[in-house]
């Protein structure tokens, strides 16, 4: 609906992104300004090809903008420190869940904590806490193939919550779930994000996401409308 330029936990200023396809340069994002605060939930909507996933990738320090800047927790993102910022400040939830099939539910969460530098009993305790928080305490030793789609996404949410990253980014988290499960997941997500004071950006096609969002932004042809 609107472009916002404030100083939240995550801020994007004048973000542009160009890709080169053959001899052509395609502009995917056209100078986007965006900001989100802790405890806020923003739904990012837009048709396919509008640039919302590219924008999420830039917010998530997976891609770097061609111009403009991203500021996380008051610090401008340095292109050389993307992995370190992802490790410290960001949690992801993917449409495809992207759980490690060889690891149990709790190990999936624990491994993410290990990557973030949390090891041993501290990692195990934190993993148990978030698994309990998503209501899968009794399934913590199940492998992903033994879980339903909704349960997998709960584990993915637990993985994103683990480690207390202040910013959570979700890419179409309900796309592979049926309507009922999708609603439950969104409600859970909202409750946990609010309860733990995390900023949550959800890229979606799903109109249900509007029901949990504090703010909805529409993106079309690489710009907010």
């Amino acid at each position: 609906m609107t472009s916002v330029l404030t100083t939240g936990v995550l801020t994007a200023r004048g973000v542009e992104k160009h890709f080169t396809e053959g001899r052509e340069t395609v502009t995917v994002l056209k100078g986007i300004d965006f900001s989100i605060d802790r405890g806020e939930i923003v739904a990012l909507e837009g048709p396919s090809g509008s640039g919302k996933t590219t924008f999420l990738s830039i917010l998530g320090c997976i891609l770097t903008p061609s111009s403009g800047e991203v500021v996380i927790e008051g610090t401008p993102v340095n292109a050389k420190a993307l992995a370190a910022i992802r490790k410290r400040s960001l949690g992801f939830v993917f449409q495809q869940f992207n759980l490690f099939p060889s690891l149990s539910a709790i190990e999936n969460v624990e491994y993410a904590l290990n990557v973030k530098g949390v090891k041993g009993s501290e990692a195990r305790t934190e993993a148990q806490r978030v698994i309990e928080a998503v209501g899968l305490g009794d399934r913590q030793n199940f492998l992903p193939r033994e879980l339903s789609g909704g349960q997998k996404q709960r584990i993915a949410i637990a993985r994103a919550l683990a480690g207390k990253a202040p910013i959570l980014l979700a890419d179409e988290p309900t796309a592979n779930l049926d309507a009922t499960v999708g609603t439950q997941i969104l409600e859970l997500f909202r409750a946990l994000a609010k309860q733990e004071n995390r900023a949550l950006v959800i890229v979606t096609h799903d109109p249900k996401v509007r029901t949990i969002a504090d703010r909805v932004v529409q993106i079309q042809d690489g710009a907010f409308v």
């Binding site: 992995a83 992801f92 495809q96 060889s102 690891l103 624990e110 990557v115 973030k116 041993g120």
Partner: protein, 376 residues
């Protein structure tokens, strides 16, 4: 304790793990069998030199190995014995002779003839009879390996050597030459009398045992001075020269190196291919590792550990297979000798092989775009 994604992921697909380990095990077994057989064969090439308790060997000039001896006057021994530092010296004849078997067939034997075998602690594995009795008449001691070529024999049987009936008064085991010709042990004078044309007044070697305080190089220099038309070798040099002759003249060494190289090549291709395919199939997982904050180093550690596990498991399986082959090889008279150094070298080689194979995957991983986690 950190979650061991590398091991769990490797063992998750058990069939792929088995294929990877089999590739390493194949290469390991091949190397063990090839090198083990080679060492076994080579030990035969110098087995008699290794067993005879001599510090120096006097040979005729340019003798290529212990089996292909040439004669020189036996009186040279007097010059040898007169050198200070020589504790004892004896003439040794090594000579090929024909044996007429009861079946009418003619076979060859490689005769070792000494005046006193016990003095040189040779042959070492006498299982029947007494070597001292060889001096008492037309007798011989035969190695059991002769049974394969000559048929069964027993102590007190007779065999005709160069037209003369000799009584078998004893048996040895594991006295072998590289030529596979059975070894016969007899008295020095008896051997000379069997082939007077070539051996009368001649010997083929002089064995030298040094006094405990003697300087081996000083004695050797003096021997060279007094026997200018002979060669003087230390035990180790002579054993090496005998082995090298067979390695170089038969192409055995080259054959071993080529087979070992091909074995390693097959192993590395199998491991590289399975690791690479596995990496490609897990590319999304590696993308996830990057997305949640991991770097290339985290993924290299995963791949490196998987390669290490494959190497150790493949080594264990390959070594087990090679070990199981030892009695089979022994059944066909082949020695498979696997010294501890070879185990260590092959283990390190297997690890190096697997890590090299993983490097191809490393390169792929380095180019992973973590944004792929957003693709459906």
């Amino acid at each position: 304790m950190a979650v061991d994604l590398a091991t769990k992921s490797l063992l998750h697909d058990k069939l792929r793990f088995f294929i990877t380990v089999s590739g390493v095990a194949f290469a390991v077994t091949l190397v063990f069998v090839q090198v083990g057989l080679f060492i076994g064969l080579m030990s035969n090439a110098s087995l008699t030199i290794d067993q005879i308790d001599a510090d120096l060997w006097v040979t005729s000039h340019n003798t290529p190995n212990v089996d292909f001896a040439h004669t020189f006057p036996e009186t040279y021994i007097k010059r040898v014995r007169s050198i200070p530092g020589v504790a004892r010296a004896d003439n040794l004849i090594v000579w090929f002779m024909n044996v007429n078997l009861p079946t009418g067939a003619v076979e060859g034997t490689e005769v070792y003839a000494l005046e006193n075998f016990e003095r040189w602690n040779f042959p070492q594995n006498v299982v029947d009879g007494n070597l001292a009795d060889l001096r008492r008449g037309p007798y011989m001691v035969l190695d059991d390996s002769a049974k394969k070529r000559w048929g069964a024999f027993a102590v007190n049987d007779y065999r005709e050597v160069l037209g003369r009936r000799l009584k078998i008064i004893g048996r040895t085991v594991d006295a072998k030459s590289f030529t596979t010709t059975p070894l016969t042990f007899m008295d020095y004078r008896l051997a000379q009398s069997l082939n007077e044309g070539e051996l009368r007044g001649n010997t083929t070697y002089v064995l030298v045992k040094l006094a405990p305080d003697a300087n081996i190089e000083a004695v050797r220099e003096e021997l060279r001075r007094r026997l200018p038309y002979n060669d003087i070798f230390t035990k180790e040099e002579w054993a090496k020269r005998s082995r090298s002759y067979w390695i170089e003249s038969t192409g055995l060494g080259l054959n071993m190196y080529i087979t070992v190289f091909l074995g390693c090549l097959v192993g590395i291709v199998v491991v590289a291919q399975t690791l690479y395919t596995s990496t490609m199939e897990h590319i999304r997982e590696f993308g996830t590792v990057k997305a949640i904050g991991g770097g290339n180093a985290d993924i290299y550690r995963i791949l490196g550990k998987q390669a290490l596990i494959a190497a150790i498991a493949g080594f264990a399986l390959g070594a087990l297979q090679a070990f199981a082959l030892r009695p089979v090889m022994a059944g066909i008279d082949l020695k498979l000798i696997i010294p501890m150094q070879l185990y260590v070298a092959v283990l390190l080689g297997a690890i190096a092989l697997c890590l090299s194979a993983a490097v191809i995957s490393f390169r792929k991983v380095a180019s992973i775009d973590p944004a792929l986690v957003f693709r459906t």
